[in-house]
Subunit: 591 residues, 2 copies
């Protein structure tokens, strides 16, 4: 079917069901960041292949909302589709729900599986929603199946806590809230709770499934094909019942008593299945909260993964300086080569997201993604921004380095690099009382560039999972208000940046974890003090530092970090690589 | 009547009205920080004379909630009263409403005039409230009248904007929200809107009154005795109708259409008077928002007031160093002397709050208030913290200086003073993009002491009015989330501190105002940039600075500030005073 035919067929169904509009958001039923192609309904219906967007079809019009990253692509792909592009990054563009509220009289159909309970509730206040899945009946031919890759147990040696212990902890939470059951639909929460992993979603080692946890039962709703005999034994051993993926709805319909759910992560269809007689408690997921606080084994795993990652990056940068330009290179060939080096690492599974290799002006496009058909040729000159990460059985990594490939360095490039580095160090060195939220310390990373009238629009730090999502909540370091206090064991990124259109993008990123700070004699209060340990192990390009802007404390911090990088990485390198690393980690000093 | 008799009489009324509990909060009907004694119902009923507290009476028990400042005083004053003290600063002390919710079955009586609409609503969700004033019938003998001081016009020369212009602006806001009337009960909002001032409340030059603003009418509800003939002419000229203070309720009962109110500031009794048929819009007061953004005339007035204040402080500190200890001094005699010097200033009206003179360990008690009966003798040795301010016709001041009176300075005192000073300077020098909230830059003032494991519990900065409240919203710089962005014309205090129990308190405070920052060539975005101008003009005690902690930028800032202080203050001083000031403002430099 062509897009026009699909829309016509949808409208026929809309008329049948007396709907004035139908909305297809770019979501899946698990509030996932990366989606299986089975759920790419927005892309199927619109013909637009970008990763973010929402489609709205009325009886005589069709619209696609997407953000500025995709304006160009959408403009091309929506040609001849009759779909109008709504540029949602533009200031005067209404949100989807505001547009619906202003322009649609009558019912708006939505598939409740694709909406979180909270979003559905918010939309309900502004539009007359009707829960109905019209795409199911239309998208029958060629629809990819739900991935059926095998589920595998994730050893407690890596996870640091047994399933039994995790289930006990969560059942204590249930008891505390006097609840009888908890519905879990976020895939990373399920993977963490049951110590399982899978290959269903790109970049995230999760298993497509639901869980309902009760005082004496834990039921995993998952496609039977995913369970081989070892997996079956593992689940049996841990008293985890298995039912079919789709059976979750009937199961929820049979619940009684009090049901707990996190309205930000559980989808509306699951919520609608809860029987009327049940008491419903919408609460921040206790799994989300506990999962974010990494245990000692998880942190030790992160440190192991970081050494593997550091080795890969050292080899990559050595190759980049010494070998790469003997043949032509593009942003994509560099990303591929980095992948090759990472793949040599022990326990490497996959990349944790698509590498961003942004050469010169492309580095200034914050979510830039080069494709083999459309990427820049890289030469041994100018600035290269490289943001990449790996999924290792031991943990998840995410690192950005910006390096100068050759030629005379403009003074503004050095200033920009140094403002970013100073902010990056200020956050890494920060010490703060327990209870401090990420948005309180965001400005520490920005203060030096602010002094020069420079800022950036993205977050300074996102939470990171342990061999799970590279982006996880609830902690972060951003401008926006976030009530979550930073807690011991949280992992966040530390990644300030400066972006100059058509010139360069500079970002420096390490992962850091919250640790108890040493008490000093001077301490005035009984408060506990927190600080960060830097996890990432890779040198910075010191040739880009404007030394006159650096304080002694900052130089000391950087030199100590480089000593540590050399000490931890060099035992894993050959002699030639060691010399290279020693050279890159040489101490810097004020003239 | 004794307290026990008052409580017994109240219980008789409670039984008559079938109430299980009655609550007397320490509020007035105008959400005032400083209250007229007429409304001190909590103090009258309990016999406790502290400034903050809430009394709860049940049929067989009585409780007073107050914070740690008043534990000692309440312990003494509540003796033999049968009232149990609830220590609300203690971690395990329930809030009043949580206690009521857990412990009271049946109706809880409250006077709706003493609750904001929002608080009343919040409490209603946890307790069965009944709006009723039982104190009125009990407190008949010796109850102070509502103050009846004269109202006076505040010249547009000082206010910088005519009443007509302000009313027009607010009527535009009404029209924009399609509202017919706005209820205003906060006394500083009324004073600002109508360019009037009075003497009804200590430290705040306001007039006890209400206002209802409509498209073609503005009605001031105020005691007729307050209006002399010039005031009458002024109000007539500006088409402001006058009705009796109590008439506001009947007036509101006669409204129709859509009524606007700020639920955080308007009391529940006014809200309950709005007719059922009216549409009610609870919105942040547009007066509050506009009042906070000082116009050019108000800011120029602030600068004039600051010069007067700087002269008073210079003379005071000179006297303190050269004369004071020829006779015995206490914290109170010093505060009185400072008042004397301030009172010599042109256009001085009164203090803007009760001076805090905290000698040695008393300085570490954050809301310390010495009384003639209970204050420390001050000798020419050790640390003195002095927090004071003035109300001038030109503007409101608030300044804290901490000085060393003599003897050898402990190294920790110098470190503490310097951490505070560095934070104070970091905030004063900050530059940030438009849209930044106070809680984003709070950590700039704390980062250096945090590094040493030290913090403080109070806000870093509060908003300040213009010849109005020394504390005003909505802007501030605090740890807590506050959605208000800092805007050009906002005035806030910059007052980090370090407090060492039984040793010293150190706080350094200036008022600063938000101004446009100079654009630099480096700016990467289209954002507007903001910065602060320091308004306060008084030297710091440089003898307390540990120079090894100071950066060149900080020293340059401090020296430039001292040059400015001398330049602006010295023309108002005699020669001897000039020499003293020159000595205090001498440049400091790194050894």
């Amino acid at each position: 079917m062509k897009v026009i035919e699909k829309i016509a067929a949808l409208r026929a169904l809309m008329r049948e069901n007396k709907l004035a509009a139908y909305v297809v958001p770019g979501n899946d039923p698990h509030a996932s960041e990366y989606m299986a192609s089975h759920w790419c309904e927005m892309q199927w219906l619109s013909g637009f292949n970008g990763e973010a967007g929402t489609m709205v079809v009325t009886l005589d019009q069709a619209f696609l909302w997407t953000d500025s990253r995709y304006y160009l692509q959408a403009g091309i792909e929506l040609k001849d589709s009759t779909i109008e592009l709504m540029r949602e990054s533009d200031v005067d563009c209404p949100s989807v729900i505001d547009w619906l509220s202003e322009n649609v009289q009558g019912s708006v159909g939505v598939n409740p599986e694709m909406f979180s309970v909270n979003d559905y509730k918010e939309w309900s206040e502004k539009a007359e929603l009707q829960s109905i899945d019209l795409i199911k009946g239309l998208w029958t031919e060629g629809r990819p199946a739900i991935p059926a890759d095998k589920l595998y147990p994730y050893a407690a040696d890596f996870a640091g806590e047994s399933v039994e212990s995790k289930l006990t902890r969560m059942r204590e939470q249930l008891a505390k809230k006097k609840a009888d059951a908890m519905i879990i639909s976020a895939l990373d929460e399920i993977a963490w709770l049951l110590n399982i992993r899978g290959n269903d979603v790109e970049y995230n080692p999760v298993v497509i499934s639901y869980v309902v946890l009760e005082a004496n039962k834990c039921t995993l709703f998952v496609d039977a094909n995913k369970i081989d005999s070892p997996a079956q034994n593992y689940l049996d051993f841990n008293n985890i019942d298995i039912q079919a993926y789709e059976a979750v709805f009937d199961y929820i319909r049979s619940l009684s008593g009090t049901v707990l759910y996190d309205g930000a992560r559980v989808n509306e269809a699951l919520y609608e299945a809860i029987p009327e007689g049940c008491k419903k408690i919408n609460t921040k997921s206790p799994i989300l909260i506990d999962k974010a606080k990494k245990n000692a084994v998880e942190l030790e795993g992160e440190r192991i993964a970081m050494r593997q990652d550091g080795v890969a990056l050292t080899r990559f940068f050595k190759w980049l300086e010494e070998e790469a330009f003997k043949t032509p290179q593009t942003e994509c060939t560099l990303a591929d080569k980095l992948h090759e080096f990472r793949a040599m690492g022990e326990n490497f599974v996959e990349e944790s997201f698509g590498t961003i290799a942004g050469y010169k002006g492309n580095g200034a496009i914050v979510h830039y993604a080069a494709t083999p058909d459309n990427c820049a040729v890289v030469k041994p000159e100018g600035m290269l921004l490289l943001d990449s990460g790996g999924q290792y059985l031991d943990g998840t990594t995410d690192i950005t380095r910006t390096v100068w490939l050759g030629g005379r360095i403009p003074q503004q490039a050095k200033l920009d690099y140094t403002y970013v580095l100073k902010g990056h160090i200020a956050l890494a060195r920060a010490r703060f009382p327990r209870g401090t939220r990420g948005n309180q310390i965001d400005a520490l990373a920005k203060q030096y560039m602010w002094e020069a009238g420079i800022t950036y629009g993205h977050g300074t730090g996102h939470g990171v999972g342990h061999f799970l999502g590279c982006h996880e909540g609830p902690q972060n370091v951003r401008t926006d208000n976030n009530p979550t206090a930073l807690e011991i064991g949280h992992i966040i990124s530390d990644e300030p940046g400066i972006y100059r259109t058509d010139m360069w993008g500079i970002r420096t990123e390490n992962l850091i974890t919250v640790i108890p700070a040493k008490q000093t004699k001077a301490t005035t209060t009984e408060d506990e003090w927190l600080a960060f340990e830097t996890l990432t192990l890779c040198f910075y390009d010191t040739s880009l530092i404007e030394m006159s802007l650096m304080t002694e404390d900052e130089i000391d911090w950087l030199n100590a970090y480089h000593v540590r990088v050399y000490k931890e990485i060099s035992p894993l390198l050959n002699n030639e690589e060691k010399s290279y690393l020693a050279y890159k980690c040489a101490a810097i000093e004020l003239e």
